[in-house]
Symmetry: C2
Subunit: 226 residues, 2 copies
């Protein structure tokens, strides 16, 4: 009764059965396809048939590797969260505030460019109230942000960074960078064909750097009234 099916079912089984190379490959193909479909249609909007088609296999075959739709999604999300938190974790207390913030922004922007599907998968989950990751964001994410907020506060107290709300600071970085992945259609539509070439990414990076470093105040009156 243990090994009627061999491939995936080793979630919490006695004999984890090492996972053949072929199984790993197929699983990766499926996860890749699922990422594509889930990120576009959300969990409920995506069908196993679609994912199977995208993965180039039949539905029952896919279900042989992942017996539950749920589980594909869960795997994607949990893998994603690791990737997603990594850049923030790199934030270094001993570095220069502006260098650290600038490179964090850049890394996040690169992620929006290079992993837009991951970003959208995450956004979909958030939009729907994060039913599948609530614990993850209430514990892991919160702790990490709390920690980094403390670092920011230290910098502010040392006068090396403008005194402001560290949490909202982090939110604004997330928002501005992920926007380019999540609202890609809108960005493309508004920028029009011309402004959409390779320069787009650099334009965004340059603008965000300006925004976070100096805001919109023109040089002439940087330290002006009030």
């Amino acid at each position: 009764m243990v090994s009627k099916k061999t491939a995936a079912a080793d979630t919490v089984d006695a004999k984890p059965r090492p996972l053949t190379r072929i199984q790993k490959e197929k699983q990766d193909i499926i996860l890749e396809a699922a990422l594509e479909v889930f990120s576009l249609h959300g969990f409920r909007g995506a069908t196993i048939d679609q994912i199977a088609a995208q993965a180039g296999m039949s539905k029952p075959n896919l279900l042989y590797y992942f017996p539950k739709k749920d589980e594909i999604h869960r795997r994607l999300i949990s893998e994603l969260l690791v990737t997603w938190l990594a850049p923030l974790a790199e934030f270094d207390e001993d570095g220069d505030p502006f260098t650290e913030i600038r490179s964090y922004i850049r890394r996040k922007l690169e992620m929006a460019r290079d992993f837009p599907r991951e970003s959208r998968l995450f956004a979909n989950e958030m939009l729907q109230g994060a039913p599948r990751v609530s614990e993850m964001i209430e514990v892991d994410l919160k702790n990490l942000v709390d920690e980094k907020a403390k670092v920011l506060l230290t910098w502010m107290e040392q006068g090396r960074l403008a005194r402001t709300d560290p949490y909202h600071l982090i939110f604004s970085i997330w928002a501005t960078t992920q926007h380019y992945a999540d609202f890609d259609v809108q960005v493309r539509a508004v920028l029009g064909k011309d402004r959409n070439g390779e320069g787009r990414f650099e334009d965004a990076a340059r603008y965000l750097e300006q925004l976070f470093m100096h805001g919109l105040t023109p040089k002439a009156r940087s330290a002006g009234k009030a």
Copy 2:
């Protein structure tokens, strides 16, 4: 064959039949319910049954007013877009740049607070590649933004605003404000119970003002090195 059904079917009919007050009321109830459900689950994720339940009526009864699920969604989206573009349209060339931008940010932030479902409905649509509103954003939205970008450019040339990319400037306002509606769960989770009271909104407003006015550079060296 014209009037077998009377209520909704007047999309492009000969006799638009004035729409009784009762019909208008019921339609509004349905749209309100649909907004709730669509904004949470996306188009495909939402079912007519759910919407009907939310609206307090039976599915066939709902279908009497909106014969197609599609149409409820379309109506919501098109009504939404008007509301959504209004604040940007108010942007006044003759005003003071900073006053205009600041009040635009505040209006958008208020909208994120007061109409989070609309924001999420819109976000859902964008995430999915805007299949139902592509024309709207490629024409109406683009034109409006082009126009306002020109205003921003003028201000920049007059030295009244930092020289930067006006399109990305607008994107960053959208991103930072809508973030509070679309990623509400995340924001709540990260802020924790304490920091989530009535002050939250004001904190965000204050932070964003600081960000857009001065960036993160501390006062002491506002106009520092190159």
